[in-house]
Each structure stands twice: as C-alpha cells, then as structure tokens.
Symmetry: C2
Subunit: 239 residues, 2 copies
Amino acid sequence: MVEPIPIRGGDAPEKARRPGRAPAGPYLYAALRDQIVRAELAPGERLSEAELGERLGVSRTPIREALGRLRDDRLVEVRPQIGTFVARISPAAVSDAQFIREALECTAVRLAAELADEESMAQLEENLRAQERATERIDIDSWQLLDDTFHRSLCDLSGHPAVWPVNERAKSHLIRLRRLSLSMPDYLPTMVAAHRTVADAVGRHDPDAAEASLREHLRAVLREVPRIREQHPDYFEEP
Amino acid sequence: MVEPIPIRGGDAPEKARRPGRAPAGPYLYAALRDQIVRAELAPGERLSEAELGERLGVSRTPIREALGRLRDDRLVEVRPQIGTFVARISPAAVSDAQFIREALECTAVRLAAELADEESMAQLEENLRAQERATERIDIDSWQLLDDTFHRSLCDLSGHPAVWPVNERAKSHLIRLRRLSLSMPDYLPTMVAAHRTVADAVGRHDPDAAEASLREHLRAVLREVPRIREQHPDYFEEP
DNA sequence: GTCCGACCGCTTGTATACTAGTATCCACGC
DNA sequence: GCGTGGATACTAGTATACAAGCGGTCGGAC
C-alpha cells in the first residue's frame, strides 16, 4: 500500500508528498495500481498522461513509465494516438489470474507447511488476531492490508522471495474483484475463518491439507464474479 | 525469438530493420532480452543507454522503456547515476525461477492432460519430430525454438493463454543457464526423450504422470548449475 | 433535412535538452 | 613516491519539444 494520492479531485501538485530523491516511476506505478485495484479509478475510465502529470506534479516521462508497467499487468489499455484507459474486467483475464495465483500460492504453501518454524507460526497467529480485530471493527481497509500480508507470509515461507512479486502482479484482477465483493455482510468473517484453517494446516506441517484449504479459499472470490457482473455490467468487457 | 540485431559490432543504425510504425519499446525489449538470455551480452557487461540508442538508431526514450522491463525481469541491474549492467546469474534468482516455472507448468500440464484433443496431440507430435530432426543436425538454435514452442503448447493447452507470458518472463534466468549447458554432447537427445515422455502422458490423459515427468524434466537444467558455475565463475554473483 | 468532407484538437510515441550525482584521473602539495 | 583534492567525463532521471495519427465537430453541398 502506498500513500494515497488524489488523482482526481485536488488540483495542487502533489510532488511534495514524495521523497525528493527517490525515482518517481515506481512510486507512480504503485500509486496508480493501488487506485485501479481499489476501483477508485473505474474500469473504462480515461487516463490522460498529460493530465496525470499535471495533477501529480511530474512530467509525462515518469507517468509513461508507470503506465507501461500497468500495461504489462493488463491493468490499463494503451491505444496509440487514441488514449489510455483503465482496463475493464475480463472474465478470461480473471480466470487466468486465478490459475496463476492458485498454482503459485498452493505450491508455495506446501513448502511453507514443510518449512514453517515456531517464530513464523507466531507471526501468522498475530496476523490472524489482527484480522479478527479488523473484522469486529468492520475495518475493510485494514483487513485488506492484513489479508495481503497473510498471503505474502505464506508465499515467503516457501523460501522463494521472488514468488510474491510475480503473484502480486498476476493477481491484480482478482484483487479488483475482491474490492467489489466486500459489500457482502459476512464476507470478512468467512475469509478470516478460511485463513485460520490454512494456518492450522501449515502449523501441523500438513502440506496436503494446507494446499486443499488454500485452494478452496482462493476459489471463493471467483464464485462472486457473476454477482458482481450483474451489479456492475459496465465494469466488464463487452463480449 | 526476434530478428537478431548486432548490438555490438555493426556501427550503422539498424532502424531500417524494424517496421516503421510499430512502437519500438517492445521490440527493443524482446531483442535485448534475447541477446541476454543467449549470453551474447555477458553477465556483468555494461549497457550504456546512449550507446545502445546510437547503435540501434533510436533515442534513449524507447531504450529506457526496454531496460525498465528488463529490470522488472531482473535481467539487468540499473544503478542510478552509475550505469546499467547485465545481471549476473544469481543462484537464488535461479531457484526462485525454477519454483515459479515448476508451479506454473506442472499445474498447466495437468489441465492439458485432461483437455488435450487429437488435433493438439498431432501438433505436439509434429513438434517432437522436428526436435528429433534438429537433434540429428545438432542444430541448437532450431531446437531451442522448438523447445520453447513445445513448453508453450503445454501451457496453452491448459486453456489459460496468459500463463505463458508470465512464465516466460520468470524463467529467463533458467534459459540463460540452459544456453550455457548446451555444450554437453548428449544434452539434446536427453531433452527430446523427456519431452516425448511428457507428451505421451498427456496423450494418455494421465495428469499425474504428466506432472511427474515434466517436473523431473524441468529439474534437469538445475542440476547443471554447479558445473556451469565452475566453468564461468565470472558470470555468477559474488556471494 | 441529410450526408459527406475538411479541419482542428487531442492523443500517444519519439527525440532532445537539462539536472543532479558518481567515479575516475590527473595535477598538485607534502 | 604517495596521498589528496578538484576538474571532468560519464551516468540515469526528468522535463520539454516535436512528430504522426485518430476522432469529433463544424460547415457546406446536395
């Protein structure tokens, strides 16, 4: 998560908020990606390079760097000489992202179940308690951060730190869906319970159970697609 | 594979070889990536943005776009105000790439074994025969193309076309190793035989056998790491 | 009223100019 | 001879200027 920046709304350049010397490209990428997956930038919305640069207080060059990476992630669609647009949700892209996420996380969690030590399990447990507190407060933003950390911890426990960045980029489309799913009242408690099931299996060093419960958990979001599509038909690709 | 361009050597601008209107960034990315994984650009070698632009007949802007993507792939290391260098081979990055490749391809091949039809199997068979011919001719370049196509076909048969691009970017480090492994005399026949074993399992609609044989095949390259490191110690990260 | 066409504005892609910071190398002092 | 300091030549990051192409709009002809 990065410092939220008012891409729409505020007119004053926001340059001051960013540390002066750090390259702007990666920062802008993270900021724009965050706004897209949080659906603060709506699917189909136009993104003007010049306007973004003006609002954020930078020139088009670092903006283009960020948009290029977002294009690689298929989160924006760049049509030369026409414009850049927030990608609409593509059921095929969602399905592909689900496949990649399942493959990476389920393989990782098997290794995690074999390798997890006491300290790692204590950290998972602490995260789970925080998730429960966030659920009681119905604090969706905090919970999403904790959810991200939880899944990342499972990945990192496999001993392959490069897996998470790949997974993160691939699963953007799923996060976007999740954001739209969160209106369901009992969504959060269900998710937290599923997390605990996975963590228990990892703690028992039971790879099969860990993989199975994680796979089941990951597929929950996917089942929401038809309902979301019904609620927000304009967010989806026209077939 | 892209049209090879003489990044070193030729002094004349090479712009004419590229179709005039297509954006140059993706083209340059593919070209540079190809040269790096083929070890034509040696690990540790300096890549000057200005010099590359001059040799290839474009300005620094598209060069920087290509280098940015290569940095995301960890194929180049950009040190601000110092320079851009071809990344040395990192055993950790290789291990991570192996994990990602195994997870994606082995999961995909299970689906492929379930979904493959007669036509797909015929295409695989045709590819295998071409591999055998390339092996007889000891035509390494052709075989590498066919190998790429073979693995891509297995991925695509899963019905998730977005998986291959992710896999391709992740496995760059492994391809680079493979290139250095090819001096082994019986390397090619062994690989082709392994491919046939995998294809047979897919044809029998046997996901377990397909996954197991593919996993074994993918790990073959990894076993070459110590030998390659002994032969080219300067290509590896200093620990 | 309707349709066709030229023009204008805006878009992305590319090239170039400028900024700030690093390493190297050479001259100078000791 | 050796160590040190500064000028210099490079680097990547950023800003700006230019080129090329698409789309919408407005005006005129039928």
